[in-house]
């Protein structure tokens, strides 16, 4: 077996057989799903609790207008009682709040309606109440002008603008959201992968230094082989872990949603309930599925793999040289900071500029700079990027990778045999010239 394969095999098996690695692999999805179930369960309980809002309506005009909103119910209080008396009743009966509508014409209410509540009220309810009041005023104004509500309904038309690019490909809001989710997820995933497994490689380099086995090994193996073997072996372990997580995640979410009857989708979007009522939810899901298959899936997957591998290898060579330069993990901070900052920059550029303008100057420039291009370009690609841009950016990325590996190998070769003191950036620069 070739030396490189031997090293890869050892690195992989060491990582995969490690107890904490195994525990992490199988426990984290459980903890993660557990948390989601907990959140879903708690929000369900929260929503199930009935909240009563008393309405003190001096006009008597809104008798049937407040029909209830989600888990909030409206209770009309007789205005024969004094307002002060009602207030104390509301407080003592621990109702959610009290809505006070003064005796004024509906169109003149403006600033006079008051909502009393013990705690800061849910803004959704307040919006609902405002809407009801405004509609009432609107209809009343129309009536005063002699226009019937039916006429208004007849007069209004809804326009649905189709969005197409010049090639005749349709796009829609759903498609845009889908693209954002895809690009964002890919970029974020890459960042997490780099941080988690880059660290792991770094630790294994430091381990060989502190174990003092390094000199024994590099008397049989070229340092660059050892370095590449470590990077590849650890990455394979990382991919294994992610695949296991994915499988467990899928199985668990199916199991959990059938056993606990928790609709996991309610967690993220409280407004879905409204959409569901009107059947819009189903439409959206259908729309989503259609749009999903309209995405250039092959391009996405291929470019994801290319950028993932390139970006990950680029950063792991940096992590390797950090590990080689220091004696212990506590000394790594100084060198880790810039790495993490560049990664964060890439993700922020991705989330703030790509979303607004996927093909703007900033997004474009950052998708060419090698240390940010894997993340930023992955976020841009779902929105359609010219092939030449991708090709140029990939070439820059891989050329940089070769250059960085060459530099990292130099630092690695010197650093692994240096014990005792933490080098400064200046010394690292000197090592490059040895």
């Amino acid at each position: 077996m070739s030396q490189l394969l031997l090293i890869i095999k050892r690195e992989y098996l060491q990582k995969v057989r490690n107890k904490s690695f195994i525990i992490m692999t199988f426990l984290s999805p459980l903890i993660f799903t557990g948390l989601i179930v907990l959140v879903a369960y708690l929000s369900k309980i929260n929503n199930a609790e009935k909240q009563v809002i008393s309405v003190y309506d001096e006009t008597g005009l809104y008798a049937n207008d407040f029909e209830g909103y989600e888990n909030y119910e409206f209770d009309y209080v007789s205005t024969e009682k004094e307002f002060a008396q009602v207030t104390s009743q509301v407080v003592s009966s621990e109702k959610y709040g009290l809505l006070y509508i003064p005796n004024e014409p509906v169109t003149k209410l403006k600033d006079d309606v008051v909502f009393f509540a013990e705690d800061a009220p849910n803004m959704d309810v307040i919006n609902y109440i405002t809407e009801v009041l405004e509609n009432k005023a609107f209809e009343s104004n129309l009536k005063n002008d002699g226009v019937s509500v039916e006429d208004i309904h007849k007069a209004s038309t809804s326009v649905n603008i189709k969005i197409e690019n010049f090639n005749g490909e349709e796009s829609s809001k759903t498609a845009n959201i889908l693209k954002l989710v895809f690009g964002g997820a890919a970029g974020y995933f890459l960042m997490m992968f780099i941080i988690i497994y880059g660290n792991m490689i770094m630790r294994s380099v430091i381990e060989e230094k502190t174990n003092r086995i390094i000199e024994i090994i590099i008397s049989s193996v070229k340092p660059i082989k050892l370095m590449m073997g470590k990077i590849i072996g650890t990455s394979l372990a990382g991919i294994t872990q992610f695949v296991v997580w994915l499988c467990i995640g899928v199985v668990l979410s199916v199991v959990v949603s059938t056993i606990f009857h928790v609709d996991l989708s309610t967690v993220e979007t409280p407004h879905k309930a409204m959409l569901e009522n009107s059947g819009a939810m189903e439409a959206m899901v259908q729309d989503g599925v259609i749009e999903f298959f309209k995405l250039p899936l092959l391009t996405l997957i291929v470019s994801f793999l290319i950028y993932f591998i390139g970006g990950y290898l680029l950063y792991s060579s940096v992590y390797v040289s950090i590990g080689a330069a220091v004696d212990s993990e506590t000394d790594t901070q100084q060198f880790m900071m810039p790495v993490i900052m560049v990664l964060m920059l890439a993700v922020y550029v991705g989330f703030f500029t790509v979303i607004n303008n996927p093909h703007g100057t900033i997004a474009t420039v950052f998708s060419f700079i090698p240390f940010t291009s894997p993340i930023v370009m992955l976020m841009r690609i779902p929105f359609g990027v010219d092939l030449w841009e991708i090709v140029v950016s990939v070439i820059i990325l891989y050329l940089t990778f070769v250059g960085v590996v060459w530099l990292a190998a130099k630092i690695y070769r010197i650093g692994i045999l240096m014990y005792g003191k933490k080098p400064s950036y200046k010394e690292l620069y000197k090592w490059l010239k040895y």
């Binding site: 003092r212 024994i216 049989s220």
Partner: protein, 312 residues
Amino acid sequence: MAENLLEATNVYKRYGDYTALNNVSLSIPKGSIFGLLGPNGAGKTSFIRILNQITYPDEGTILFNGEALAPKHIAKIGYLPEERGLYKSMKVGEQALYLAQLKGLSKTEAKEKLTYWFDRLEIGHWWNKKIQELSKGMAQKIQFVVTVLHNPDLLIFDEPFSGFDPINANLIKDEILRLKNQGATVIFSTHRMESVEELCDEIALINKSNKILEGTLVDVKRKFRTHTYEVALEGVNETILMSDVESRGFKIADADFDTLGDEFTCTIQIPQETAPNELLRFLMEKSSVTHFKELIPSVNDIFIKAVNNHNA
């Protein structure tokens, strides 16, 4: 076939402004145990790392068995570095197999040889233990086995006895001698001068990046002889003897008088051109000589003297 297994000529190694090896040439004869000596930071490790092709010389040539040193020679070298360790959480057998395979042995070959060596050193029952369960000395034994496992032509030991108790140190010493007898050439770097005396055929001394001394142990000792003799005499008047000795042009070195009953012991240094027989003849005239021995400098003395002279 070359007579020297290793021939280094005018080797320079620089790290930035610092010169680690300055025009060092060394010849290491086949089948010898070669002591590579020098103070800390003299450049020994730099030289050894060049032999292992961990680093490369800036100038100079190195011939291995008559050929320019190349990556293919790595499999013919076994290196036990001074800073050595093993993967703590890996099992002994697994780890030894891995390191042997990195040296180019096939898995079955490696297993066979490991079984032989583990039996030989009676450590077979450690196979499934993790390194962290073993003591330092035990781990050292495994490192030794891994170094010699692939029957290398050249063995490089940097402080091989550190961490061993006297019994195990002896065991390892015997193994080194046995390997030498089987034809291996050994480079031996240590600060324990008594083991140099015991083991080495040749030595070289490196100080401040320069080679300051090289040769067979016998030649080096001859070169550093001080022409000093330890004598013991019976029935003699010390004072008279002393003045007689001085008047003959001999020198009583150090004030090393020692009277045991009737016996008087002292050390006498004679001029370089004088033969020891002359001194003996002179002494025999004065008294009966019960003891006459040349004081040969120890490697320890030579080391200190040579380094101090070079530094001065």
